[in-house]
Amino acid sequence: MMQPTSVRRRRGERTRYAVYAVRHSPLSLIGFLIVLTLAFVAILAPWIAPYDPYKLSIGDRLQPPSWQHLAGTDIVGRDLLSRVIYGTRISFLVGIAVVTVSISVGVVLAAMAGFYGGALDMVLMRITDAFLAIPGFALAMVAAAVFKPSLFNMIWAITLVSWPWNARIIRAEVLRLRNADFVLVQKALGAGSMRMIFLHIIPNCMGPILVQASLQLGLTILASAGLSFLGLGVQPPLPDWGLMVAEGRTYLPGRWWLVTFPGLAIFLLVTGFLLAGDGIRDLLEREVS
């Protein structure tokens, strides 16, 4: 199937393919839109939020949703909508930080273990097994609690729990590619192991890595919300969604808005990431077949 393409037309081909893929998977399109929209909300928070999320206003506390405060106010009178909007920043920050580190670590370790095999691989596999055997959330709780609970420490705690998953998935990919013809040819050409791993094997794992990244973004946000809910994560007065749910819990059932809106925000962002991840996965499967 020769196509008369120049470099410019090749780029056109890629866009056409992307549009085709998206049209055939409306759910993933919704996912991408959600994520993009919320990303913009996070970036533009200072301009979008109607109030200062930290500003106390005791006189206005515990107000139900109204035209002045679309989501109501909390126990010290802070506008809930503004806090939820600023909470988007925290969620993205945590998600991106955790995923970046855990995928980098997972990829490097898995690539080396999968490529070299032998003792290195065995050791890595056992360590991964051990981490995966420990109930994830429990491990994150312990890790978050051991150091003084804070946003920063929570990121490390979740990363600690996340990297084994990545390692396992990437290792499977690396094992598959290690015996591929083009890697064998690289060896004949005189390429060293590092070159083969980082320039040839890992770039060809990008698909699964992306899928894993987007799924993990969603799961990380859920985990961080859970940890903050228990008090082991983000500390007040930061406007973290999980923390807000915890703060509002004591006022149930009367002041339902304190708990509902932050929870909806979590639900929305996580859904976005998971749908996007599904979409990428479907795209990859279609490409293969």
Binding site: P135, G136, A138, F229, L230, V245, F267
Partner: protein, 334 residues
């Protein structure tokens, strides 16, 4: 085949050793905060040192680790520093409740998730399909603590149908202790009141725990069914004029269910993990509740003990599931 089984069984102690090492390292990186809490803010240095010595926290780390491992092998998981009681006995008290919860959740997952997936597959692209897929996606993204609170809002505070927490009403006496699992024990002894009341208390936590995996199971079943339904032998079944019920349930489902079974391992891991938050929100007195409460008071021994025991249970259950899988799938030979 035998070789495989032996290898798997042999790997468990090794992995458990690593698990213990990991938990030990985590909790001993930062020096004894629990003691501070136990003794209060006005404790003198001498009292702190004395307590450290009592728990062996003044010895060098490798020695502590060795002692720790040795104790675990003897079944001694240390004492809860805050409550001054042996962790292992407390775990024993709280464990049955968690087991009950996880088992019920698993039942819900299979009983709701699989038919949901089948329905979605058989009514492909129909309303039911989209509904199921919607639930599937929604289920995974719901934060468990939030769902718990929403359910409480609806069923407890709103409709006053179900209680707000705990395991059994104070007015109802718990059933005779056989396994420690109220549902089972009350059924076994014919204690209908206790059974009903326990069920009322446990149903919301079980459902909250199950919802994520109901979604995943439904989706996997749906995908599996769709794949199998395209196969030639199904077309042949249709050509023979078999009823839809037979085709779907007798022929297709058996083959389609394999990915769901493989997922069972991961499901278990999730259930055992998510357990902690759900129990805390519902004040359900299980292992997760106990461990979390202790952790929030900077008492590490309970949660470390709980994590180790759960890991062990997880590894064993996984092994059993894998072996069953081999037995069930005739294609796998050794």
């Amino acid at each position: 085949m035998l070789r495989y089984v032996l290898l798997r069984v042999a790997s468990i102690p090794l992995v458990m050793f690593l698990v213990v090492a990991i938990m030990f390292s985590l909790t001993h990186i930062v020096p004894g905060g629990a003691i501070q809490v136990a003794l209060g803010p006005h404790a003198t240095i001498e009292r702190i040192e004395a307590m450290k010595a009592k728990y062996g926290l003044d010895k060098p780390l490798p020695v502590q680790f060795f002692t720790y491992v040795r104790n675990i092998l003897r079944g001694d998981f240390g004492d809860s520093i805050v409550r001054q009681k042996p962790v292992i006995s407390e775990i024993g008290t709280f464990l049955p409740a968690s087991v009950e919860l996880v088992v019920l959740a698993t039942v819900l997952i299979v009983v709701i998730g699989v038919p949901l997936g089948v329905m979605a597959a058989t009514h492909k692209n129909g309303f039911l399909d989209y509904l199921c897929r919607g639930i599937a996606i929604g289920g995974v993204s719901l934060p468990s603590f939030w769902l718990a609170l929403m359910l409480l809002l609806a069923f407890s505070f709103g409709l006053h149908l179900l209680p707000t927490g705990g395991r059994i009403d104070p007015s109802v006496s718990p059933p005779a202790h056989i396994t420690g699992m109220y549902l089972f024990d009350s059924l076994f002894t014919g204690n209908w009141a206790a059974f009903l009341d326990s069920m009322r208390h446990i149903i919301l936590p079980a459902f909250t725990l199950a919802i994520t995996n109901i979604s995943t199971t439904a989706r996997l079943t749906r995908d599996g069914m769709l794949k199998v339904l395209k196969e030639d032998f199904i077309a042949l079944a249709w050509a023979y004029g078999l009823s839809p019920r037979k085709v779907y349930y007798k022929y297709a489902l058996k083959n389609a269910i394999l990915p769901s079974i493989t997922n069972l391992g991961m499901t278990l891991a999730y259930l055992l993990g998510g357990d902690f938050i759900v129990e805390t929100v519902f004040s359900f007195p299980g292992l997760g509740f106990y461990a979390t409460m202790a952790l929030l008071q900077v008492d590490y021994a309970p949660i470390v003990g709980a994590a180790i025991i759960i890991s062990f249970m997880y590894l064993c259950t996984n092994l059993v599931v894998d072996l069953l899988y081999i037995l069930v799938d005739p294609r796998i030979k050794f």
